[in-house]
């Protein structure tokens, strides 16, 4: 089935305010429904995109609202690719971390990258101009978790 969203791109510029994450969440919810992702994947994408924006606002911009976060949704034939771009470089420290949950589960920080890596199919970073993270989820990945679990 050809999806009406295929090949389209949506761009949102967000002030660095955590309370606006709900707007991004709603966009993800609508797009993933339109693209007919499975429920589990829809939640995984929403959690990950919110996480990427949280990192951009908190680590990249230190929550300075005058700095903006650009979020680009690219609806591909087989995937949704979401790029989150900030003007800072606060991600690099976290990138050095082992991509596993904190060894001390009671640690209050350091889970963002791990969550995104666990829930998305691909995660790409580019530090050439600010910090840019691209999260990709393939439509065909629906059900992977069930196969692994089974």
């Amino acid at each position: 089935m050809e999806h009406s969203t295929e090949g389209h791109q949506i761009e949102i510029r967000l002030p660095s305010r955590l309370e606006l994450l709900g707007v991004i969440d709603k966009v993800v919810e609508a797009l993933t429904e339109q693209m007919e992702f499975e429920d589990y994947d829809r939640d995984a994408i929403a959690i990950s995109v919110v996480e990427a924006c949280t990192n951009a606002i908190q680590h990249g911009h230190r929550a300075r609202p005058e700095l903006t976060v650009d979020v680009v949704f690219e609806m591909r034939k087989d995937a949704l690719a979401v790029t989150v771009r900030d003007e800072g470089s606060g991600f690099s420290l976290e990138l050095d971390e082992d991509p596993s949950p904190p060894p001390d589960l009671l640690q209050t920080r350091g889970r963002g990258i791990f969550i995104m890596r666990s829930m998305m199919d691909d995660l790409e970073f580019d530090f050439s101009e600010g910090t840019r993270v691209t999260l990709i989820k393939y439509r065909s990945s629906a059900g992977k978790e069930e196969e692994v679990a089974g």
């Binding site: 919110v50 209050t108 920080r109």
Partner: protein, 111 residues
């Protein structure tokens, strides 16, 4: 995030509402927990039925509440967690730390 408090015998139910995502949420939650401890109330159920989602910073807030209670001989339970929050708890393995119950009555009875 909004927090409404209900005391049911020796258990306090904190009815959370909205999104738990850091910023002022951290201070509000930590201050609520400290107030409870100051009153000698150490058993807390977080009713998550009206929480749509939690991000990693929000998880940190829940962990710090759990840790503060534990250090003061208290305990915290979660109730009515939706599937999205359950998914993030499973991925981060925090489901092994937080005891979660489908409904509030089970959470209350668990102390």
């Amino acid at each position: 995030m909004k927090i409404r408090r209900d005391d049911i015998d020796d258990v306090t139910v904190l009815r959370m509402e909205g999104k738990i995502m850091g910023g002022p949420d951290a201070e509000a939650f930590q201050s609520t927990i400290k107030d409870l401890l100051a009153e000698g109330r150490r058993k807390v159920v977080l009713d998550m039925g009206k929480v749509s989602w939690v991000n990693s910073t929000g998880l940190g807030i829940l962990i710090s509440g759990h840790t503060t209670l534990q250090k003061n001989d208290g305990q915290m339970r979660l109730a009515r967690v939706n599937k999205r929050i359950d998914q993030i708890l499973m991925v981060t393995k925090l489901h092994t730390i937080f005891r979660a119950f489908q409904d509030e009555a089970d959470a209350l009875a668990s102390f």
